[in-house]
């Protein structure tokens, strides 16, 4: 296979992944709406006080109902789309002869893969089909931006990027990006559900979400996994910076925003264990952390003169 056709196959895989994601989005939407109606009746069923919370929603969805069937199809489609995206990334890497995150287009593909991978990994442990709609929507948004605005022909790396640290440092940042995104989606759903619970008016679509306490716990668990990994990404970046630029920390805008993101998520973890800051306030802080991550990715790469300006735009 010539390298030009490798590139075409990579693009084809990415476009196919987008098409499958659109189908998954529709199925998730159907499942979401159908479950919304179902839950209103089953929620009144009392659940044993000592039973673990996970079982509460397991009893909620009927495994044979149309909503559940659409949800299962959507999950299968999401697996397929993630596989296609991975294929696109691998082909892109083969074409360029390096890791497929050398410019902003490639990083966006990898980040989207991170979002979907975190979602799918969590989905193997618990039923999170209610999360499929926002996650697939965000993945499509990110892929859409990648193929329209950020698309760059693959090229060799500038010498500053030729290092093993590119593999380690950026890979950990990509997984963190996926985890931060999924956690942010859950936080938004938490705020929505929490408001409904406070008003005592849990009806309609919001009723198909797990209760607020469970949403809060799930986003905490994802962030508790992502925070040490982000710490590692910052440390490995510092080691690489020391090797490439002669200092491990220079307050380059990318470094500054990585620091700000770290500080905000550290604040989130502390807020969660501080009276008066739990719940809604902690959720807002985690959203703030995600905004800071987005500024670090899009803002610094495109608008700021930074040593990390490798967008290739």
């Amino acid at each position: 296979m010539t390298s030009a056709s490798l590139a075409e196959w990579s693009n084809l895989a990415v476009y196919s992944s987008m098409l499958v994601l659109i189908a998954a989005l529709i199925c998730f939407a159907v499942s979401f709406a159908a479950r919304g109606q179902r839950v209103m009746t089953t929620q009144r069923v009392p659940v044993g006080a000592g039973a673990p919370m996970e079982q509460t929603t397991a009893t909620v969805s009927d495994p044979r109902g149309p909503g559940a069937r659409a949800g299962n199809v959507a999950m299968a489609l999401t697996w397929l789309a993630t596989g296609l995206l991975l294929l696109g990334l691998v082909l892109r890497g083969l074409w360029a002869g390096r890791v497929p995150w050398g410019n902003m287009y490639e990083f966006s593909l990898a980040w989207t893969f991170g979002i979907l991978a975190v979602f799918l990994v969590v989905s193997t442990r618990r039923d999170i089909r209610w999360l499929g709609l926002p996650v697939v929507f965000l993945a499509l948004l990110s892929l859409g931006l990648a193929v329209t605005v950020l698309y760059t022909e693959a090229a060799q790396l500038v010498p500053a990027l030729k290092s093993w640290w590119l593999v380690i440092h950026v890979a950990s940042a990509i997984i963190c990006g996926g985890a931060f995104t999924v956690a942010a989606a859950i936080s938004v759903l938490y705020l929505w559900r929490d408001r409904a619970e406070r008003k005592g008016n849990v009806t309609g679509i919001v009723a198909s979400l797990p209760d607020a306490a469970r949403l809060d716990t799930l986003s905490y668990r994802i962030l508790a996994f992502a925070f040490p990994l982000w710490t590692f990404a910052v440390i490995s970046g510092a080691i690489w910076a020391e090797n490439a630029w002669g200092r491990y920390w220079g307050w380059d805008p990318k470094e500054t925003w990585a620091f700000i993101t770290w500080v905000i998520y550290a604040g989130y973890l502390h807020a969660r264990s501080t009276a008066g800051w739990r719940g809604r306030r902690a959720a807002y802080i985690s959203l703030l952390g995600f905004v800071s991550f987005l500024i670090n990715y899009f803002g610094v790469n495109i608008f700021v003169n930074s040593l990390h300006s490798y967008a290739g735009l």
Binding site: A154, Q156, A244
Partner: protein, 514 residues
């Protein structure tokens, strides 16, 4: 600080009591409270933002000056407030120092509590175990003592910390969670100390070296040098090197055309005076370590060789002139000053590795490789101002008090007869230069060690679960024994069911009657 809710620091703020000691205690209580620590964290995040938006003295002093000149109202005000050197500003330091004092004030009492907890037995079982979030009860045919013996042995075998009392067994595990948490915060303090140590004893300099010329590590040879307060600039490690050859390749394909693909500097190094010379290669990402210092390749450019003959026919200059790149295609500017020529000559030059001229941009370069090089020269005669005592940049010509002789474009090998019989300039050929950053930071290894300890502590404090289990067994009066097993999480989100189930499994003859 994930388990401090049961500490006094979480108390709501009380009004300050009278008296100096009382007030000081109140301030300390406030500063070390989690609420204030949180506020300081967010202040730190907000305070870091301006440094990423405004140009900073440490990285880009020229853009700072441009910014201040372009904003005559706000520029000086922001400058005075330290906004162009945010990370060295007193208010930034105040925030992080207060934060660290707050961390110390929080960690010290917690270390004391944790130390005590580590040496004491788990607390006795509560009377009503069925009020615990996770519990199981059944009737067993074994005697109460047998059940408790078995529970004790089982918990002990699975490395729980166990205590036994009248009719109960208590177990606790996950002490490493708090240990890791304290370790994380202590390591952050150590990291700050390491950074400070590096700033006091470290130094860093930049130097441009032309192909064929050399550098020896003394202060006067640097173009720019900065060191910590406790560095003796006279005792830099005495190595020297010459730049033999500098190789650079650029992307010629359509995608990212002109982007660099290879930088490689071949040096001859003398690690110490009198030591044998050795050839070494320095690349980006592959610095040279010598005598406690590291030599990094950080930039490159062209040095056209200009041969200047003055009006008297003397060759007053015949070597490479360093031109500084202005854009990605290495359109470069440089200055040649010849105070000893008759008359004194100053030449401003524009060097284009691949020359093009159009109406919009004037002369510019279209590719960074020297495919079609040209220099555009503007010659001036008169007082160069070098004797005025005011320090001058070697890359800028102060043309006040000088008269322009003329302008000319030269290809390699061409010679320009300057008007008025003021001499000739020949564009002899091209060499390259490379710029190096040479740095010594004794704090970086301790900083890395502290960062790794912080990461390990962080993972311990997030992934280890602190849990308690209790077993109560008492005779029911009808020949059987009522056994209750309960669990309690002492940390966020601990999953209790597996711990309780494991104990139930160990006492398995009770299962099925639950």
């Amino acid at each position: 600080m994930t388990t401090t809710t049961d500490l006094p620091s979480a108390e709501p703020a009380a009004p300050p009591p009278l008296g100096a000691v009382g007030f000081a205690r109140w301030c300390w209580r406030q500063l070390t409270s989690m609420r204030v620590a949180l506020i300081l964290l967010f202040l730190l995040a907000i305070a870091a933002i301006p440094g990423s938006v405004l140009p900073q003295r440490g990285t880009d002093p020229i853009r700072v000056n441009d910014w201040i000149e372009g904003n005559p109202t706000w520029g000086p005000i922001l400058d005075r407030l330290g906004f162009f050197d945010v990370y060295a500003a007193p208010w930034f330091a105040a925030i992080y120092l207060l934060l660290f004092v707050s961390v110390i004030g929080c960690v010290l009492p917690r270390t004391r509590l944790h130390w005590r907890a580590l040496r004491s037995a788990p607390p006795a079982a509560p009377r009503r175990l069925d009020r615990m979030p996770e519990h199981r009860t059944w009737e067993s045919s074994a005697s109460a003592d047998d059940v408790l013996d078995r529970a004790y042995a089982d918990l002990k075998a699975r490395r729980w910390r166990v205590a036994r009392g009248d009719g109960w067994v208590a177990g606790e595990r996950g002490y490493w969670r708090e240990t890791g948490n304290l370790l994380f915060h202590a390591a952050l303090i150590a990291l700050l100390v390491a950074i400070g140590y590096g700033a006091l004893f470290g130094w860093r300099g930049n130097v441009i070296v032309r192909e064929g010329s050399g550098f020896s590590d003394t202060l006067t040879q640097y173009d720019a040098w900065g060191g910590g307060r406790l560095v003796d600039p006279a005792s830099l490690p005495p190595f020297a090197f010459t730049l033999e050859d500098f190789r650079v390749d650029f992307e010629r394909g359509e995608a990212q055309r002109g982007a660099p693909r290879l930088f490689k500097a071949d040096l001859t190094l003398w690690p110490a005076p009198g030591a044998p010379a050795e050839p070494v290669v320095v690349r980006v990402n592959e610095p040279l370590s010598v005598d406690g210092a590291k030599v990094f390749l950080v930039g490159h450019g062209y040095a056209p060789t200009l041969r200047l003959t003055d009006a008297l026919g003397r060759v007053v200059h015949n070597e490479g002139v360093v031109f500084l790149p202005q854009d990605g295609n290495l359109t470069s500017t440089g200055v040649l000053k010849a105070p000893d020529a008759t008359p004194s000559i100053g030449i401003e030059g524009l060097f284009l590795p691949t020359a093009a001229v159009d109406d919009v941009r004037g002369p510019h370069s279209t590719f960074p490789e020297a495919d079609d090089p040209a220099v555009f020269l503007s010659a001036w005669a008169g007082d160069l101002g070098l004797d005025s005592g005011v320090p001058q940049s070697i890359y800028a010509l102060d043309t006040e008090g000088m008269t322009q002789l003329g302008i000319e474009a030269l290809r390699p090998g061409e010679t320009w007869q300057m008007p008025g019989g003021n001499g000739t300039v020949e564009f002899v050929g091209l060499t390259r230069w490379a710029s190096f950053q040479i740095a010594h930071d004794p704090g970086k290894e301790p900083a890395l060690a502290a960062a790794i300890v912080a990461l390990v502590g962080l993972m311990m404090s997030l992934f280890i679960q602190r849990r308690r289990v209790w077993v109560r067994a008492s005779s029911s009066g009808s020949g059987t024994t009522v056994v209750t097993v309960a669990g309690l999480a002492r940390s966020d989100e601990a999953d209790l069911a597996p711990g309780v189930d494991a104990v139930v499994d160990a006492l398995d003859e009770g299962r099925g009657t639950a």
